[in-house]
Symmetry: D3
Subunit: 238 residues, 6 copies
């Protein structure tokens, strides 16, 4: 029995509100239950030095948590003058996940920065971030199309992400904080919505786990990502 | 004529939603038109070293802006490893403003940190922050009362803040970004809702201004703060 | 009765020694009683990126305190690797105050940095800094004129600053450290010597104060700044 | 055909020299072909604050690369004042991998820091680091046993790591730099030598990859880790 | 012929004003010609952790330059967030030089920090700093004696410092900036006033120099330090 | 009697292995007994801004210690975000020492960075670094010659370094850690192998020392450097 009463393969209530941020070219306020993340996509007419004069664009991501998004207040990273290792890991993951579905030659020498800021946290902030970031990024590309700057949205796939874990011996989908902090194993799956792998990160929390357990987690993740993909398309009106 | 069509003494639409953040002891999502700030108050059972064993508590504040809260994306302070001078100035102002209405001996050796995070910016983020911070802090104190930890809310006054400025030669209340970036002078008034001064910061943008102009701004501010005070009490159900 | 025996409207003994620093284009060693600040103005033949090719110059300021300028030694900011919030606030204030009286189009694409370093502190370091910085800056402009680089000193006003406060219930001018640390309210006035406002920062230390009290402080400040202006002109031989 | 002439399932020449560092409690100089890493384990008689008085110990890891371990010189992290995101990710991975096979209650309130410093890099530095770190850590535990401080080596499993990837369409084991920089997918497997999962990190470099491809990588990894485990035991004389 | 017209063995005009800083326990404003350094000695009733409960005290030094002490403005170290290598080297040298003449067991568990801040620079700032620091430190010790906290000044020697160099082929004493920037070799001698060595730092600027040249520099230094020692005793009234 | 059983004028066993690092243009793994330093020389086709378009090259050095190169683990400088004062001092010394024997106009507008990383420390790491750095640098220059980029190795002298000290009252050569930490005086001599001075740094550890003692140390150093020079030439096959 999961603390939330969900079945093993049940996602939390997922909501996505594209266009939440009036200043950004693209945005999505995404909720996985009580985990709320504001994703914004900002387009700049320049690329990092290593891409100048290559005709290619760049997509990168940054991640942050509001100090009291969590149960007890975390120190503000800006005040400490340093991003935590966890923050750096997550923003690198989001960036790689988005780049895997973008045609980097399809939007000119532009950089798009996707900011994922956690307004409220209840587990799964990185997977919610990736899922919402896709929507924000799509919207920013759509705006470039609408503004006549590019001909079509340069996406070669659709990406979403979900966590799975072994909780009280049973594989379950989309861990909330209570489950996450007691899971025997924990894996984040970044998949295309047609089931291919972009990134997998699986970690044993206490004891190593078996290949069979891993396969069960993978299976849950595929169905979860499929469902998230549907929500993304609905949010984008596709 | 103001860009927004408001009269000279008209506030923007103000909304306050206390309890927005489920994890925090107190919180308020405050909107001054398109300026949106999430204020959370976090209670810790410890004080800074200089207050240990004095029986006094401490109230402090931190301020931040989401990178794309503004019209063009700002670099993330956590990534640059440094808070900007403007950020430091504002959070010190918020902290002083709150401490001026709190009885520091009335809530034990506790520290309350009020975080003001700008979700969307359209001018006046510091005054919206102070106004919302009061509500979040009140709510946190109320929770201490409800939990039986203190006997009453240790507030000896009610504080709100508003900006005024001289726009196209005319004193106006509650500047939005368009007005703010073109004002001849700009002043932030942190007042008690019964009209006393907690902090005044007035700045000539281009040319020095006169004592009479300053008096006109002050007069607008008093009426604005009175109105904000009413909204605060409504939000808190007082 | 003030600790120093001064009357309520009496400045401390003020001295200004222009040209103190042989290496700088302009300089002033300013003393407000036991508060001693060395102000130097350094001219560089370049402007910050945002002003390139605009024909405009820039004036900026930096502020520092020697570690043992104060009663107990403060940690050296260079050693801690970080300027305090107070330092940042003050140097921004000095910069804005100077820019308000300078014609930015009148000295070419040059940057002038005014450094205000507190050699000894006894209250009022920021107001002494602004008052001395004006003299150092004027001298640097005069040197540009003497060197035939510009035709006249590009100053459109004269600025000085003084603090006032409510000490034992009475408004007094030019607080020294003993008064400052016990004042009920404390305000810094940056005014033109003909009485117009450049910047006002008023802060209640414990209890909010009234509009009438604020008016009394303003009145003291105007007379103080007038007197400081006279000293500045004498120092500059104007 | 692999650039090195190896077969798809062939490791590079692996060497491990325990006790390389005369000052450390445990050490191992590990070579995976031209990738050389010096791993040292340092025992301290204290634990981080969150473990004080719990009877538990702690194992942590740090990772670094000599500036010219790589083909073109990298800036020194100490000189830049900041560890790169990649560095932080890797050292967190090493630490988690070791902790998964250690009985944290079996060596008292001690902290062991395993430093993995890359002397020369040719791909696979993080997997070589984990593999060598196990040996260094074991040796440090053995020294605690020999010194009579604990009764037995508190290891509940044996860990090694290897990378696999899809190179020119074919799954191959233990990528060197040439392969790594041209792989379609790249996965790092941290496994127990009896085949259970501690950590898996798989990343698509350009295009997403399939579940079948992932399974092939996993299979290679299991055989590679088994072989590495044998080398570790030989090095330790077990 | 030296640019200043001095003979090869002639010091610049040296002045020392003890007690310059009213807030510090000891101080000395020292001038070597146009090189002016303010030295303050601050006594704290605590020692660094490694000396607690040993009965020993500690003497340390910090060094800084005002941004426009030099001919062209240097960036402020506090603003850059980092002390330069040169700064670190010099303050370590000053600290070692002072500790070499102090009986560390003679003033209890106290720390004395000597700050040497260069107000104006014309070569030889580190040697002027050491020479003035001795006076400031002596004065601080004398104050501890006067306050009845220790019985006598715990100095076991008298230290002063001077630079020498080979300028246009000739060994000369006490280089000013013009000489220093054109010297073939440059050496700083920190000696006791009775001629023993505390620290010697000799550097060839372009070409290596000979043992004979070094001996000539040493000889000049001994006479210079002897003379400086006399000035120190006069300043201290000894 | 020295702890190692060496005679007063005896170096430790010295070994130099040029070409140790396969990725670097020049390298040398140098051992002075148990002090082991890896020196690499990296050539870049650019110079620092102050040398652009001057036809001159630049040689600089960086220094680091592996965290467990020492008897007790030192914190990693990259993790603390700051190089220690000692590190900065040493790398500046290495750079100056190398530049003193290089013809800066003889290798075009190139920068060569020599990294000296201490793998194991037993005293004398800076002198071993300089001695090995010369070999690495020579090898890098030789590679530029072999590649036809310059005509001859632009070295105008040969540099090596050794420490001397007064241990138990007796001057001894090439201090190891045990001696170094108990020496009454300690001096590092950077000399050309024909006996001229590049840099001398002598420091009294407890009591000042005499000119005669200094002369004895110098004499030991000259014979030591002569011997090291021979080893360098053998290592380079000259």
């Amino acid at each position: 029995m999961r603390p939330s009463g969900r079945t093993a393969s049940q996602l939390r209530t997922v909501e996505m509100e594209p266009g939440y941020a009036i200043n950004a070219e693209g945005s999505c306020f995404v909720k996985f239950g009580n985990t709320h993340v504001l994703c914004t996509a900002s387009v700049e007419e320049r690329v990092p030095p290593f891409l100048r004069n290559t005709g290619k664009g760049w997509v990168t991501a940054e991640y942050g948590m509001l100090p009291r998004s969590t149960n007890s207040r975390m120190g503000r990273e800006a005040a400490r003058g340093k991003q935590q290792g966890r923050t750096v890991e997550i923003q690198r993951l989001i960036g790689r996940s988005l780049r895997a579905v973008v045609d980097m030659e399809g939007f000119g020498e532009r950089q798009i920065t996707v900011d994922c800021d956690v307004i409220q946290a209840d587990g799964g902030t990185r997977t919610a971030s990736i899922t919402g970031a896709y929507v924000a990024l799509y919207q920013a590309f759509q705006k470039l199309v609408d503004d006549g700057k590019i001909l079509e949205v340069p996406m070669k796939g659709q990406v979403a992400a979900v966590s799975c874990g072994i909780y009280e011996g049973q594989p379950v989908l989309d861990l909330d904080y209570k489950e996450d902090s007691n899971a025997q194993a924990d894996a984040n799956f970044v998949l295309t919505t047609d089931g291919r792998i972009i990134e997998i990160q699986g970690t044993a929390e206490e004891d190593p786990f078996t290949e069979e357990q891993f396969a069960a987690l993978f299976s849950l993740a595929k169905s979860g990502v499929k469902e998230l993909g549907k929500k993304q398309r609905e949010a984008l009106g596709l």
